[in-house]
Point group: C2
Chain length 264, copies 2
Amino acid sequence: MDYFYAKPKDIRNRIAAQEITGPTAGMCAGYAQANLVILPKKYAYDFLLFTQRNPRSCPLLEVGDMGDPFLKTMAPGCDITKEIPKYRIYKNGELQGEYSEISSFWREDLVSFLIGCSFSFEAEMLETGIPVRHIEEKCNVPMYKTNIPCQSAGVFRGNMVVSMRPIPYQQVSKAVMVTGAMPRVHGAPVHIGAPEQIGISDLDRPDFGDMVTIRPGEVPVFWPCGVTPQNVIMESKPDFCITHAPGHMLITDVRNIELKYGSD
Amino acid sequence: MDYFYAKPKDIRNRIAAQEITGPTAGMCAGYAQANLVILPKKYAYDFLLFTQRNPRSCPLLEVGDMGDPFLKTMAPGCDITKEIPKYRIYKNGELQGEYSEISSFWREDLVSFLIGCSFSFEAEMLETGIPVRHIEEKCNVPMYKTNIPCQSAGVFRGNMVVSMRPIPYQQVSKAVMVTGAMPRVHGAPVHIGAPEQIGISDLDRPDFGDMVTIRPGEVPVFWPCGVTPQNVIMESKPDFCITHAPGHMLITDVRNIELKYGSD
């Protein structure tokens, strides 16, 4: 919780200097965090349409101009190639490797997409007394592939990925209301309880991130996750794609409350 | 108010048969209405990005597949070339004419965009006791060009268009809350009172639609309007574009409450 009250730019500077290299949950309370997808322009229309058709898993926060690695809206001046703790590169749908920065891979035909992240609403969950287990246990959030199909768009198709937080039964309604009020960072849960109903066979083995403890009296609650595009990239196999590594997010300069009510 | 409780499909059938040719305000209470923009594919990425960057004036409800005039989500099976009361065709940014159907203009490279319309929230305004003057006066809503710039995207740039409804001073907060809860059909007002502040010099001369009476004790309240893209088309001059005629909307099969909470 060292960085709970830190300012986004300070954290991003430490990330660019590779002083911070891990997951960003619990950092910069009140500020929106974002998933990253970078694709060549030839795929950009199909992917933009994919986000429009799948707003719960892919709430779009900013789209960069082709060839420009600097953000304008969510973190003005941020170099998207350096200010995320860990990146992934996929070629033809296969993970090629993880990188602490990707400036040497930047190209003139690349377009960046920022998608809201559910880490954003965790400070508000904590404020209202709802536990966030992966912050307590200082690990990454557990994420799972599901059997929930996304709406296809052009070449992009695949199933939704979800993040899971164990919630005490008596706080489930509150968790739905708190997060449902923040649709641009995924909003309300997509599923509560019964993981097998959405195609998750073993909660102890997340597809991304780390397992967390589910205590007696708690139910697993699942939110749409911005890692969904990575699952879709693996299935749809574009020739080149850069993403963040799951849980290693961009911390933006925009507060959640601005996303909720709009800027002036 | 004859069609206030009508079902969307019945109204769309009457529209396709050209029995209904006028504005659609006050029809099919509770169902979302939509603005239409049809562009050649070569402009589709820029326009999709324009809607993403301008969600208040251009809340996107559905994007068709290239060359397919039939809708899938907002009004499954609807022929977008026939089920709107009046269309406009623009060439190089100039209005070429108005048409009651546009099937003969359809091409394999065209993409349809549906954008939420503020007519959608008028039934809820009426239910909560807020007057809707253009429904009372059986005319089109007044719409104005403003000096509020949109965020540019590719070739598309221009200012926001707003719709205006006179609201009694004591009901302004209620009008903000009722409409602010429905962001996918434009949401909260963008401006209240003082039309000159947003570049409107004469309320009696709307740029689109009809003037309505502003009574003593009422203030003009302005909402972002889905005619904004037409203003942008006039400035940005794509070689070909089809839109609805202002106020002559697509009445969808989706209820506002589904837009608010999502479908299952």
